[in-house]
Amino acid sequence: MSAAVAPEQVGTLDPAKKTQRVKARLTSRGATTAAIIIAALWTLPTFGLFVSSFRPEDKLSNSGWWTVLTPEHWGWTLSNYHAVLFESGASSASLGSYFVNSIVISVPATLFPLVIALMAAYAFAWIPFKGSSWIFVTVFALQIVPLQMALIPLIRIFNSPWLDISGSFAAVWVAHTIFGLPLAIFLLHNFISEIPREIMEAARVDGASHTQMFLKIIIPLSLPAIASIGIFQFLWVWNDLLVALVFSGGGVGVAPVTQRLAQLAGQYGNSWEILTAAAFVSIIVPLIVFFSLQKYFVRGLLAGSTKG
């Protein structure tokens, strides 16, 4: 994707061009209106959910969130959040525990594939060997295998007596690591193979081993790519439902917050005081990651946009 953004040389514009530009802007008023309408349409559903999650149950189930500014429907509470996060008991959401599970799943499941992919990408790019490009192409081709193709046999492997890890964090970590690898190797290889040959050769002449070059040159120089891919993998794991459903066992001990949310949607389909707060708890981390690291997120998206 070409990223050559034409710099706006406002200072050097001649007056004729400037008026032309102003005119263009005025005629595009319709476009601006359309854009604002789309933006509003896209924001409204999340906004409605957010507002509703702070409304007491009796108000929430008897009036729409758009009436909240009228005196009779005015009223706010944190008790929905309290109920989904902290209340304990068989029928409660216990989202606090599931939230911890999501963290425990996501951090290693981001770290493991990144490190393994970095090593592989480095080897494919910089350690000369006859068959290496052929193996790399195969790894690249693996991106087209939908993970649905691997689920049934993989759960069988995890269930086998000599491994017996299904329903544990280990199973979810390993599954996410495997499914994250092809894309991560491909993207990191693209980046690492662009590192100037002189840098690598200078290090080689100085007697650096491959391990040293990997740790002292490759990793520091690839940090931007690592950041982008890491954010992507983290969000993908945090938002995942399929892998969790198949490998986590579904209990409060391992299942992530998305899986609990899906369960709640089935159980309490109409208890919106639970669902609104629970949904917001589950999306808050991705939203924070998204808004604080949007630059890397977009960069990752532009670099490669197929997954698993």
Partner: protein
């Protein structure tokens, strides 16, 4: 502020009575140990790589560096995929039945419905998200507040499919016409003087309402890619076209669209593949009921809930066969596009 007190009081209660904190501590500790073990294994590999014998050094080092990835991929992806293909030709007892599972998929009325729904998804989601995304990218290009306007439409990309399904489930909530509506879309109907309706339960339109959720998510992706591509269109091209008397609409079709053709292919194919694989939305909103199931959802249900793993495997193969030509097309077009430029 009763509720805040409430929150803190029971927060304390929870820490005193329940095992939440000790459980969580245990889980986090477990994760730390796992990371430490992982680091030790990697460290060991690197140690061996560093002390490899002089002969064939490069080869041994290459092997050690790619070993973890190759082992995981062959055991966890290649071999399982082969097994799934084999399983799709057997019944649930492992007996070879050739194409019977696929015949079932093609002829069974429920399955036919699943295939048709999937085709509707594939026809609508990429088209709608790409065109809305492209229009929006053009509208906001170089406008004031472009960054903010971008973030707003892009934001759903960060939200999980499950979260998005809840958000839209709330939009679609139904209350009988006599009661106040709490779902915004039904309120719109009421304001327009129409009766409220059960959006997600009434076939066949409910598939369309589920599709809207996916469009809502994918439009941001299309918009971001197109926005970057549009900024690469040389200003002189547009100016020359304007001098020749082309209006904005003509410039869009004759300058912008041809220039960003490569991006359009990437976006449409990427969204198509994502659409084929998405099962979370259907599962969360309707659970596949009311004639809404799609291949990815049906694959999960058959294999993991209804105890029909062979049929599930066959559905996974169908999914693969649907994804495969799209990716091939994508690779070929991109290569041709690169050669031409």
């Amino acid at each position: 502020m009763l509720s805040v007190e409430h929150l803190f009081a029971s927060g304390r209660l929870a820490s005193a009575s329940s095992s939440f904190w000790s459980d969580s501590g245990g889980k986090l500790g477990g994760a730390l140990i796992a990371v430490a073990v992982f680091a030790a294994v990697i460290g060991l590999l690197m140690f061996f790589a560093d002390h490899a014998p002089k002969r064939n050094r490069d080869f041994i080092q290459l092997i050690l560096f790619v070993l973890p990835a190759l082992v995981l991929l062959s055991v966890g992806l290649v071999w399982p995929a082969v097994q799934t293909v084999w399983q799709s030709f057997t019944d649930d007892n492992g007996k070879f039945i050739a194409f019977e599972n696929f015949v079932t998929i093609a002829t069974d009325p429920t399955m036919r419905r699943v295939l048709i729904n999937t085709l509707v998804w594939v026809a609508l989601v990429p088209t709608l998200s790409s065109s809305i995304g492209l229009a929006y990218a053009v509208f906001i290009d170089k406008s004031k507040g472009e960054k903010l306007l971008k973030s707003l439409v892009f934001m759903p990309m960060a939200i999980s499919f499950v979260g998005a399904s809840i958000i839209w489930g709330f939009m679609y909530t139904y209350r009988a016409p006599a009661f106040p509506q709490i779902g915004f879309l039904n309120q719109l109907l009421v304001w327009a003087g129409l009766p409220s309706q059960q959006f997600t339960a009434s076939s066949p339109m409910n598939t369309f309402y589920l599709i809207i959720i996916m469009v809502w998510i994918q439009t941001g992706f299309a918009m971001v890619i197109f926005s970057a591509a549009i900024k690469g269109v040389p200003g002189e091209l547009n100016e020359a076209a304007a001098l020749d008397g082309a209006n904005a609409w003509q410039r869009f079709w004759n300058v912008t669209v041809p220039w960003i053709r490569g991006s359009i292919v990437v976006v449409v194919t990427t969204i198509t593949i994502a659409t084929l694989k998405v099962f979370d939305i259907v599962r969360t909103v309707t659970g596949g009921q009311f004639n809404t199931s799609v291949v990815a959802n049906e694959m999960y249900s058959r294999a993991f809930r209804l105890g029909q793993p062979s049929l599930g495997a066959a559905l996974a193969v169908v999914l693969f066969l649907m994804v495969f030509p799209i990716i091939m097309y994508n690779v070929r077009t991109l290569r041709r596009y690169k050669e031409a430029h």
